[in-house]
Structures are given as structure tokens and as C-alpha cells.
């Protein structure tokens, strides 16, 4: 009984880029800046592909919500091994107030429409650092969740998931269908090979709008400002351990 997976992925500013605040102090400069698939979503796509290779899954649908460029992210997922894609178009101007709440409504509707068994997401997006979407999607569907997963195994009754939590690791079991979110150590994503990138161009991608799914996009937040964090005063190099220890003792740090 092979499963159907819906994987969500988000196009974000690349993790290595130094971000700059816009002069209007209402956002971050995105124009002309290198973007990539959110690293946690790469891990989510990879996990779905591995499940397909293990014959646990027979179809992977990748979905991304965003402006036209979200297609790049979908193509990357298709090149990694997803079967088909759904691009939910969000105008660029609405992206600043497009929240996990809205995304989770889109994903919940798609999960029902496509009759999937697993919704697989990245734990968090490295731009908003929210860590909410998987939990909210699960809640809307009234499905169990396995979030911050570092290992996912199929059992007779459903899934066994090892999660990374504050104190270490936690093991849970869920029935299917379920919503999962990938943590850093779940797997190491593959690079899409050139042949697969070429093949991906032929895979089907359907476009739709949130309204087509009956999802209301009305903003729930108003961005008041986006600012640089406080700047740390420049530090100094110390010449040797004696110098360091003296400076630390000066600041009041010594053996307990």
C-alpha cells in the first residue's frame, strides 16, 4: 500500500547571503539577491524521495507558495525526484504578510484534494524563523504531527518518529495520515544531477491561486519596522593565554 506525499518548499534568500535592510525599513532587500530552496525543505524533499526509492511512497507532489520565481524551487524539487508540482501564486507585494497561517490553510486544502497520506515540510524557513506551518497544517487537518524529525520509519500502524527536542531525543508513534517536519539531521539532501534537471523540465506543474482553494489571504499582521540588530563594539585580539586570562579576570571571570 504505497503512500502519497505532499512536500512543501519555500524559496528564500540563500543561507550564506548577508542580508540588507531596505531604506524604507519595512523589509529586507530581495531584488537581485541570490535565492535558494529553504535548506530544511531540501531535507524534506530528500526524505520523500528516499521513501519513494524504498517503495514506501509511490507519488511525490511538491507545492510552493510564492511569486513567479517559486517555479525555480519547484523545478529543483522535481529534479531531486518529486513527480509533479503545484505552484500557488502569491503576488510579490503580498509576501510580507503571507504567514504560516495562510500557507497551512493552502496545504490543508491541497492535502485533502490530493488525498495524500503524508504532508512533509521543513521545520522552519530561514527567513521568518517561524517554525509553525507543519503544526498548523496538522491542526487544520486534525492529523497527528511528527515535527523536528531526525528519523522517520514506517511501522505496521503508521510511523515511528525520533524527534530532536530541547533535552535530547524523543520517540513517538503516529497513525497515518500525518504531517511531518524535517529537522537538520534527518538526512543529507542530494544535488540534482544534470540529467534529472533536464527530465524535470517535462514534469507537470499546475498553477493556482489561494482563492481557487477557498483560502482567505487577508493579512493578520502589520509590519511596523524591520531594523538592523544592535551592533557589537569591535573586539580585540589577545596575544596569548596570559593576556586572555588577565582580561577575563578584569571583567570578573575566574574559577568558580
Amino acid at each position: 500500500m504505497a503512500l502519497k506525499v505532499l512536500v512543501g518548499c519555500k524559496r528564500v534568500i540563500d543561507y550564506a547571503v548577508k542580508i540588507r535592510i531596505k531604506p524604507d525599513k519595512l523589509g529586507v532587500v530581495t531584488e537581485g539577491v541570490k535565492h535558494s530552496m529553504n535548506p530544511f525543505d531540501e531535507i524534506a524533499v530528500e526524505e520523500a524521495v528516499r521513501m519513494k526509492e524504498a517503495k514506501l511512497v509511490n507519488e511525490i507532489i511538491v507545492v510552493s507558495c510564492g511569486p513567479a520565481q517559486a517555479m525555480e524551487t519547484i523545478r529543483t524539487a522535481l529534479a531531486m525526484g518529486a513527480d509533479r508540482g503545484i505552484h500557488v501564486e502569491i503576488p510579490l507585494g503580498q509576501m510580507d504578510t503571507f504567514q504560516p497561517l495562510h500557507v497551512s490553510k493552502v496545504l490543508a486544502k491541497l492535502a485533502e484534494k490530493e488525498k495524500v497520506d503524508i504532508v512533509m515540510l521543513g521545520k522552519l524557513a530561514i527567513d521568518d524563523d517561524a517554525n509553525q506551518t507543519a503544526q498548523m497544517t496538522a491542526s487544520l487537518l486534525d492529523w497527528p504531527q511528527g515535527v523536528f524529525a531526525s528519523k522517520i520509519d514506517k511501522t505496521d500502524a503508521g510511523l515511528e518518529i525520533i524527534r530532536e527536542v530541547d533535552g535530547g531525543l524523543e520517540t513517538i508513534r503516529t497513525t497515518l495520515p500525518a504531517v511531518l517536519s524535517a529537522d537538520l539531521r534527518l538526512n543529507e539532501p542530494r544535488y540534482a544531477t544534470l540529467p534529472n534537471i533536464m527530465k524535470a523540465k517535462k514534469k507537470k506543474v499546475v498553477k493556482m491561486k489561494p482563492a481557487d482553494l477557498g483560502v482567505d489571504m487577508a493579512p493578520r499582521i502589520q509590519v511596523v519596522s524591520v531594523e538592523d540588530p544592535p551592533v557589537r563594539e569591535a573586539g580585540q585580539t589577545v596575544s596569548d593565554v596570559d593576556d586572555l586570562v588577565a582580561k577575563l579576570k578584569d571583567k570578573g571571570f575566574s574559577s568558580a
Binding site: V28, Q135, M136, G168, K251
Partner: protein, 333 residues
Amino acid sequence: MFSTPTKLSGLVNTLRFARNQSTLVLVEHNNEKINPVTLNAITAARALGGEVNCLVAGTSCGDVAKEVSSVEGISKVLVAEDAAFEGFMPEKLTPILMASQNQFKFTHIIAGASAFSRGLLPRVAAQLDVSPISDIIGIKDKDTFVRTIYAGNAIMTLKSMDPVKIVTVRTTAFEPATVGGGSAALEAAPAAAGDTADVSQWVGQELSKSERPDLGSAKVVVSGGRGMKTGDNFSMLYDLADKLGAGVGASRAAVDAGMVPNDMQIGQTGKIIAPELYIAVGISGAIQHLAGMKDSKVIVAVNKDPEAPIFQVSDFGLVADLFKAVPEITEKI
């Protein structure tokens, strides 16, 4: 009783005021003691003004409820004790939070940011159809919050337009409330509506046991990265930490390489801490690691690479071989 329109509008205005000032703090605990993150959340809740209530849900709540009720400034402590809450599974706890919300109509639901609250509160927010606000570092007013984005490289102030605000609080940004001096009333939490199907089950946990100070509250933290090369080499960091009374953390690289367990990870998606002193040993200083420690009061870096980005944030940088430098620091500090 409300014979005149002015008396009625006065009452309505009072109710409106009361409606604007009522917070529920979700208590995190282990059925024995409060988790310290809750004390930071209580401070944040008090900063909002108005009534602060707490919810303790678990399999054995007596001691925790008592401890919570002794924190100053709490109006009442709602207690929900049930064997079904083993493992604090979010699918089981969501209905209990919903029942309390439906009865008391809080304007804010708050918890300390942690794996527990991150797993649970967004579930509740989805049920209430509101957009949760995670990991705040400041409160401007009852609707307006400050949080970091892009791994702490930008600070966003946002105004929530939702009628109920669901908020998790970065513990480094709020002082912990003191336990003692308070005497809140204890009350049974309203029962959850309906039956939750058994769709998820807590199997067990592997928690790192340590005598060392907890990373979230340690005044000094010594942290190791890729440069440590092996988990065994961390013993020199433990020796230094012992001398300083410090906690020990690690970068993602060290955890990924299997040197140390995941609960030691400091960074954007690990623990975010701000101790008095952070000593980064063999850590290059990637953006994602800095996100977890750049608010530390004093940062020391020990790395043999003079170009390592960590030196851009450190107050004192020592370019040296850590395998010689660290034992020497331990000896001389």
C-alpha cells in the same frame, strides 16, 4: 439593575477593559518542577498588564501547580491532570487549551519558547484561526511585538491584528519571575470537549543527563565546534567548564559529526542563549551559529584561523591551537 444607559455603558467599558487584559501562560514542566522557561514567560505576561493566569497540564500536577501558585502576580492556576497527557503530546493538549480559551476568552496565550511550546501553540493558533508570533524579544504594547528574522540579522516589529495573540517568548529577553511570595488560587481546568482519537503516542525519550548548568540559564558557556575534531576531545572543554562552573555547548558541525548530542547545539535552530561569558573553541562563526550566541555579554574566541568570522563578533580573540590553549586557560583561570 442596569436601569440607566450610562451605568450600562460604564459596565460595558469595564468589561472591554477587562477583555483587553487577560493572559494565559502555558506552564512547561516535567510533573515535578516548573521548567525555568515558564518563569521568563510569566515576566513577559506581566509586562502586558492585567490578569495573568497559568495552565498546568500533565500526568501529575500537584507539586508543579503549587510551585506556580507561589509565583507573584498570578491570578489563578488552572490544573488539568490526566494520564492521557503522558509525554505532553500536542494532539492531546490542544483540546485542553481550547477548552480554557473558550471558557475564559484570554486575549493572550503565552509560553516560553521551547520545543514543547513550538509543537503545541501553533496547533492551538490554527484552531483559533490566528497567526502565532514566535520567539519574541520584546513587547511594545498588547498588540505589538518584536522578534528577530533571518537568523537574528534583522529585527522586526509587528502589530498583530488577531483578536487572540498566541506568543512564544525568547527566554534570554525576559528576566525570570521569582518563585515565592505569591498565593494564586488553584482551579480545575475546564474539561476538553469531545474525544481525541488516539492518533499519536509517546514512546519514550533519551535525555542527556548532566550535572552541569543548563545552557539556557548558565552564566558562562564553553562551546566547541568542528575544530575539536572528536567527541573525546570535548573532555578538555568539560575540564574548563568545571573550573568556571559553566555549561557546555556545541556548534552544528560538532553535533552533525556525532561528537556530542543534539541538545548541546547552539544556533539558529538549536538553543539561543545570552550568557555573561561565551567561549567559542574551534568554532568558525557561521551566521547560523552566531544567531544562537551573539547577544552574550562577553564573547571569547579561540581558533587557529585568523580569518574565522567568529573573530568579528568576539570581544577577545585568541588565534592559537586550541589543543594547547584550552588546557593552558584551564590551568591559569
